[in-house]
Symmetry: C2
Subunit: 342 residues, 2 copies
């Protein structure tokens, strides 16, 4: 599959999504056949078992590889932060990027724990997106650039890609985007995010409802919703998800904001995220609603709500373990183990 060109417009990106490669059914079949003869009762490894088939189908090879795990964290700033929707000041986005680069954040430790390479991609932190309660978050050019930055961040030499984000105010953008894509209002989609108080949550809900009203008649479909209500890191995640599909890289999506960026692709094509697994269910209530809409059952449910790809990096250990069992276990015949009595 040839590497797609970076898109020159939202419509070019839509065309690129429409042409994404499909599952490799031969690799999937080879994975199913091997899984069935490994020395364990059928199904006894539960959700670990279909992971081998999923990875084989999307890597397009059997056995699937799992040596090169990469984590990419996109960071951006949001004009809507001025509405008092976060417990932290907007300056924290750049401070946390510096913390990622210095190795001091949770994602550094979690990437290290699973042996993953971490890439941090700050997206014009000096230029927050427009305040969605009064204007679009991005011009078409800015949105297309962010999609392209997401695509460009995907290294083809990757067996599993963990995607995440950082951006003060971005659960507000994610909630507004989800409401535009799937219906519902600020009360349905907003949650405490980094831990906003009751008054802050009320401001957040109001900001989302204002944004929905301002952009209600815009039309233009999911990409236009992403441009108007999302943010650079949400667009970059959408771009990275698409580029990973072309590069035959399975993806772990982190929490609410990451899934919201990816959801724009799902709204274009309901098979667009078939090469992605939900790493975990965040404590942010909107994430649960969104996973249900996306038809995804997360691997982990540990009450995390940090972002930074933290849940994805943690779940990468589960995927690696699943693929190690698939690759390394003996078959009943090899091990001389008796099969079932019945």
């Amino acid at each position: 599959m040839t590497k797609p060109q970076l898109p020159s417009s939202l419509s070019a990106f839509r065309a690129l999504v429409a042409e994404m490669p499909r599952r490799d059914e031969a690799a999937a079949q080879a994975a199913r056949a091997r899984e069935a003869v490994l020395t364990k009762p059928a199904g006894a490894l539960g959700r670990l078992e279909p992971i081998a088939e999923w990875a084989a189908a999307w890597q397009g090879r059997h056995p699937p590889a799992i040596e090169r795990i990469r984590v990419v964290v996109f960071a951006a700033n949001h004009g809507v932060a001025a509405q008092g929707v976060s417990a932290y000041p907007a300056a924290v986005t750049a401070q946390m990027v510096a913390n990622f680069e210095a190795g001091g954040a949770a994602i550094n430790a979690l990437s290290g724990a699973v042996g993953a390479a971490l890439k941090v991609v700050p997206l014009h932190l000096e230029a927050p997106t427009g305040d969605i309660t009064v204007e679009p978050a991005m011009s078409e050019a800015a949105c297309v650039a962010a999609l392209g930055e997401g695509m460009a961040a995907v290294d083809a030499e990757t067996d599993l890609l963990c995607l995440g984000e950082m951006g003060i105010g971005n659960t507000t953008a994610a909630a507004a985007l989800c409401a535009a894509l799937f219906g519902g209002d600020g009360t349905h989609w907003a949650g405490p995010g980094t831990g906003v108080d009751v008054a802050g949550l009320a401001r957040k809900r109001a900001a989302i409802d204002s944004a929905l009203a301002v952009h209600a008649d815009a039309g233009g479909g999911p990409m236009e919703a992403l441009r108007r209500l999302g943010g650079r890191e949400l667009a970059a995640i959408a771009g990275a998800v698409a580029a990973a599909r072309y590069a035959r890289i399975p993806v772990l999506l982190d929490g609410f904001v990451c899934a919201a960026g990816a959801a724009a692709l799902h709204a274009l094509d309901d098979g667009a995220l078939d090469h992605c697994l939900a790493a975990h269910r965040s404590a942010e209530p909107g994430h649960g609603h969104l996973l249900q809409r996306l038809g995804m059952t997360p691997l982990l449910e540990l009450g995390m709500r940090l972002g930074e790809a933290s849940g994805a990096a943690l779940a990468a250990g589960i995927v690696r373990a699943a693929l190690r069992t698939h690759g390394a276990m003996a078959t009943f015949a090899e091990a001389g183990v008796s099969e079932r009595d019945d």
Copy 2:
């Protein structure tokens, strides 16, 4: 804390359990204090956060260490297998032990994925325990020996111990033991195990109810229930859990059978498992009932039902990641990251 002597009787083991060391509150306090100043919103790592305090409290040091993860799998045979309670012949226990030793089983791959050392402890496979539907599983001498073999299997040079088991017929023994400890009958506690069919499940329930009737009037408390209804690997797990407590090693319990062995200690002293976490919730329905009785919320829920410490080894990656974040993350002050606005 001095290493306890191997017990010479069930009553000596009970005394040993009664004297187990308690939490190190100073280490726990140090962990809480550090966790509160790491560069993340308080609580944003969800269930990862209290793991640092738990490990510090039970290792008795801060920061807690997580370099040396060990997996111990106890294997034994069960006279009750003759009642047709498993989908596999009893010979599979020894065949799987050979598979563990040759490196071909799921637990080999899962231990390898998390960098853990694996020890397999076959417990007199040539001598199945008594058929619990007609006689006690073990003499007192045999039960005491198994407790001691479990204790002896714990290496003091361990930061985290993952316990598991293998034994054809042992979900029947575990279910009978749970019923004796907590009430309920074969229908409540029995499940498909390795994947028994409808007729097999009926035989399993009947075997459990027969065993409960045969041993109903025996008395003697949890250790006597373990001797009469359990099995060597269940007793060894109880012994290993107690020895780990003395050696200041936190423990991950695997699935239903492992938790049932540990539950005998809980029935003696409801704080006896405070140094243990439930690694996962097995697909075996009795495990969910048992975790509820033990007041444990598992880390993972992936529909696994293999045993072999497979869920514990998988969850060891979660514990390691939690302790890496605790140890390696920068504080707000170190990183120059702003704290909350409010």
